[in-house]
Amino acid sequence: MPEQTEAQLRAIFADEAQNAPPSSAMEQETLDWANTQDKKKRASTRLVLVAAATAMAVAGISIGVARSGDQAVPAPVVAGQYDMQGPIGSSSATSCVEEYSSPTLKDRAFAFDGTAIAIGPSISDKPGARLTTSGVTFQVNEWFKGGSGDTVTVDMWGFGAASEEYGWPRKVPEGTRLLVSGEPRWGGSPLDQAIAWPCGFTRYYDPQTADQWRAAFSNKDGAAP
């Protein structure tokens, strides 16, 4: 008798499920709503990046980049397996002021292949800055543009709580090798309060992309990154 009731319940529920309305309209409405939320989020992020771009255009302060050594080219740090690839600092939540390409890469004020050796406080944040950054010190394996020291510290934004949302690693482990390019945040010389750009302009290292960057900065026509 109990089995009969249970069997009846299964049959009844299965019948009801077959009579459920099609989900296509609900799915479309849900995705339209999510798309609207994404647009609001992107608009908010765009405000932040426009603020950063505007700040970069402001000529100014000329301190903040920690450099050591002016001549020596350090031996490349062995990066191990290149299992992490592609851009960092980019996500669907990021609106880019410039699209990553060979010509736009060449326009960056500095570019290098470096291995992260330390993370510290920002070198470019001002009180009330809308971008909160951390200063990441790299041992430079190769300069493509804008510098010549053994080490350099540049700011990278999006660390901490917001890191995953913006596609940055929560923490750059010591030994992580990146291809980094960017601008002086508040204007000036290439490495004055330098900030790494997202949107493809800062990427995990791999030999092929490094070759493309080298070609882009050495060849006037440049290879497509």
Binding site: Q8, F13, E16, A17, N19, A20, P21, S23, M26, E27
Partner: protein
């Protein structure tokens, strides 16, 4: 998996579960959509959990129970079985029997109905049901037992006490 892929891949199954719970196509769409929009806000976390269905179903079930309770507080409680029971002509008549059970199901408290739906439609075990409802497995067994007994035995109004702490 992106949120869009999840919605298009699992939307129909979610709506079916909502419809089996509510028997109301409009309410089913409302609570299914609400479950998805709440999930979207936590999508990164939900993805990491590796089990989006459990997260979405929990929201959906809570939405159903809340809506059923709001509804019951604004409607006159059933004083007797739905009419289908009164005209139940013959226990051997499968169609009439199902009509009778449908009427009884409609009169069950929302938590009891949910337990039955999750057991006999979603094929979840008692531990999984308990996890979704935020109660113990023994509570699930007790609720199911009382609900099944009511369905089997009742020619009277269905009274299944809800005691989430049983």
């Amino acid at each position: 998996m992106t949120f869009e892929e999840y919605v298009t891949g699992r939307g129909q199954a979610l709506l079916r579960l909502a419809y089996v719970l509510t028997s109301d196509p409009y309410l089913a769409q409302d609570i299914a959509q609400e479950a998805l929009t709440k999930t979207y806000r936590q999508w990164a976390k939900v993805q990491k959990s590796g089990n989006p269905d459990a997260y979405v179903n929990r929201i959906l079930i809570n939405g159903y129970i809340d809506s059923a309770r709001r509804k019951s507080s604004t409607e006159t409680p059933l004083q007797s079985l739905p009419e289908t029971a009164a005209v139940w002509p013959d226990p051997a008549d499968e169609v009439a029997n199902r009509l009778h059970i449908r009427g009884l199901l409609a009169a069950l408290p929302p938590r009891a109905r949910t337990v039955l739906v999750l057991r006999y439609y979603a094929d979840l075990d008692d531990a999984s049901i308990a996890d979704l409802l935020g109660v113990t497995a023994s509570n699930v067994r007790a609720t199911a037992s009382r609900a099944l007994a009511a369905l089997r035995d009742s020619k009277d109004p269905v009274i299944v006490e809800e005691n989430p702490h049983a």
